[in-house]
Symmetry: C2
Subunit: 400 residues, 2 copies
């Protein structure tokens, strides 16, 4: 698998993107984009588990359930179109229509996503004027990744290339965070495009599996948003025979999709509001996959541990404590814990580790925490970020 430096949603064949500063954000930054395939594409999506859902989430999910196909998506930042009632729904539908007219497809083939403040109606006049000004191009991916940002500090893109069945297949994506990120569904916005030909049913299954290993394993602050959306389009421009479930080609595609979604998810965790460090939690020896996932996520989500990572404090007690309340089976007399390469605890006994060496492992920007539960053979990896004063500042001042 090759990683394409600078790759994103327009790296795969047959995709174009265009972005504008429509004036939805308070700043003059890009805030509206369209990504389109030049031919029909299979599509799949995973959406927020929050019972309070934004109109575009319902609209996109309905369209995917009906057709499992899409030609384009339109995304705005600066306004989530959530808690906006009936008008929210018609605004989302109009966004799809505007994008459909722009790229010359049917409105039902367009998916919609929004992110930003909740409870304020979309400025549809600005969106209409914005769409009119959008120009799509095959190298518009980087700008689109900027257009979907809210409090993100960095845009998040990623692309990989694989060979399947003699064809060169590219997968590229973009994502945005950065508050309200928590395990349980796609907890942010992310979009993946690929030129692979792929059966729609397998595409949905592959996306769900990838989500469980990527976006469902990251946490910024424990809140699950009303707008979380992850969608993928696969337009077949690579010319391979359609990939079906259970084949060797499916495994290759799954690995590539996992890689793209994990990179995008890690980028979201690393860019969590106020974050200065990425925390990677690797749990081995769990009794079951579920236990491994629970344990890894509990550690990555612990406010106390996140604050300790910020302070570079090798506080193994907080790690063990989070394992204990995770819901996973844990025997504190058999647990090993390490920070980076420094083992702090073995079989539940505190090792006489060198504190300075352990502190150095926490200097960042990547802090790795390992735990071996010695109860089974399941493992999982979760990602989070440190908790800083800046998180509080950002969220104490964000306007309703």
């Amino acid at each position: 698998m090759d990683v394409l430096a600078g790759g994103g949603v327009t790296s795969a064949k047959g995709y174009q993107a265009g972005s504008v500063a429509a004036g939805i954000k308070k700043t003059a930054a890009l805030d509206l984009c369209i990504v389109a395939s030049d031919r029909p594409a299979a599509a799949a999506g995973v959406f927020t588990t929050n019972k309070v859902r934004a109109a575009p989430v319902d609209l996109s999910e309905q369209r995917l359930q009906r057709g499992r196909r899409a030609r384009a998506f339109i995304v705005n930042a600066g306004n989530a179109n959530a808690c906006t009632g009936q008008r929210g729904w018609s605004d989302a539908a109009e966004m799809a229509r505007l994008a459909a007219d722009k790229v010359g497809v049917a409105p039902e083939e367009v998916l919609v996503a929004s992110t930003g403040v909740i409870g304020v109606h979309l400025p549809m006049d600005r969106i209409r004027a914005g769409v009119a000004r959008i120009e799509l191009s095959p190298d518009g991916g980087a700008a689109a990744a900027q257009a979907i940002m809210t409090t993100d500090l960095r845009s998040k893109e990623c692309a990989v290339r694989i060979q399947i069945d003699g064809a060169t297949i590219t997968l590229g994506g973009m994502s945005k965070g950065s508050g309200m990120i928590h395990p349980n569904m796609a907890t942010m916005l992310a979009f993946v495009t690929t030129d692979a030909a792929i059966e729609a049913a397998f595409l949905q299954a592959a996306l769900k599996a990838a989500t469980d290993r990527s976006f469902n394993m990251i946490s910024v602050d424990g809140d699950t948003s009303t707008n979380d959306t992850l969608v993928i389009m696969a337009n077949g421009a690579a010319g391979n025979r359609p990939i079906a479930a259970g084949t060797p080609e499916a495994s290759l595609f799954q690995a590539a999709l996992d890689e793209v979604t994990i990179q995008l998810a890690k980028a979201v965790a690393r860019d969590g509001e106020g974050a200065t460090k990425l925390i990677e939690v690797k749990v081995n020896g769990a009794l079951s996959d579920r236990d491994a996932r629970l344990a890894a996520r509990a550690v990555a989500s612990s406010s106390l541990l996140k604050a300790a990572v910020y302070g570079a404090d090798p506080n193994w007690g907080r790690i063990l404590c989070a394992l204990g309340y995770s819901g996973a089976s844990v025997d504190s007399n058999r647990t090993d814990i390490a920070i980076g390469d420094v083992w702090l605890m073995h079989d539940g006994k505190i090792l006489s580790f060198d504190r300075e060496t352990a502190v150095a492992q926490m200097a960042g920007p990547d802090v790795v925490i390992r735990a071996d539960l010695h109860l089974g053979s399941a493992s999982a990896v979760a990602w989070g970020c440190d908790l800083t004063e800046q998180y509080v500042e950002i969220n104490g001042k964000y306007t309703t």
Copy 2:
């Protein structure tokens, strides 16, 4: 029900307490105390749900399960005696023995609790010397409340008096936080004493019910500690006929116990690490008690909402969002939301509220958030605190 100003664990008849600065904390502050009844007492306890549990938790729970009786408890702060293996267990047992010798009872009649750093063995020489210096007195309650503090800024005490069956019955208690506070069991240390005569089985049931309305409804940071303990002793010194379940007297006692535990729990939430405001979340109209509790706790626990309260931002979107992911049934088109006396949302529609008035409701030190789900008749109240830069500072520097 009368509230006794300045009351605590020695307000009820027949109790004495004594405290010393034994040198377990790094400072010269009080850190070791004994509370004792002058006669046998029924006792009950509720303990952490964390699978990693400190030795004193296991010891105390075992003793209560065997006997449902106690004569005293000994508590130290500065060291949690958690993750300390076999020696941790023998140290906890020795603490009980030392206290038993001090007050002249059997070691099995003494309960033990510890709080502070994890994974370090107790300095037993200091504890032995400390116990030797302890002097118990009937007005030692306030000092005991100080001796159990860790990062708490204020000691927490409370006492009430009721008339039952012609007898004057007093209940008094003390508690400590202030990190690692989260719904799910007694999430901190708390001790209640009463001179009521009461059947042991009802005492346990009453304590569990009170916990579900008090300590299980507070949250500081989402972490459940290894040491959470709530115990009660009832020594019958008031001279009433023993209170049994299902009687009018039981209801009176339950109301008084609820009051004491709610006051102690609110004090813990208010004094959460770095907190400047107490958040009270009242949910009405839920489909079930469970839903009401889930919804209230989700709002009180949301990092985003806690940061918004700190910043006095009337961000009803975050309240609705937390209701949505709480697990409770929520219909965003029927939900009402208020901050203080200002209704922000009715039937899912945003009201044109005066922002300055809403901001004023969040000035503190008490911020009330109301939600009516309009789906049923169940209600619940939860408490939390705001999330501040100081929380991060405290937890980034706390030593392992």
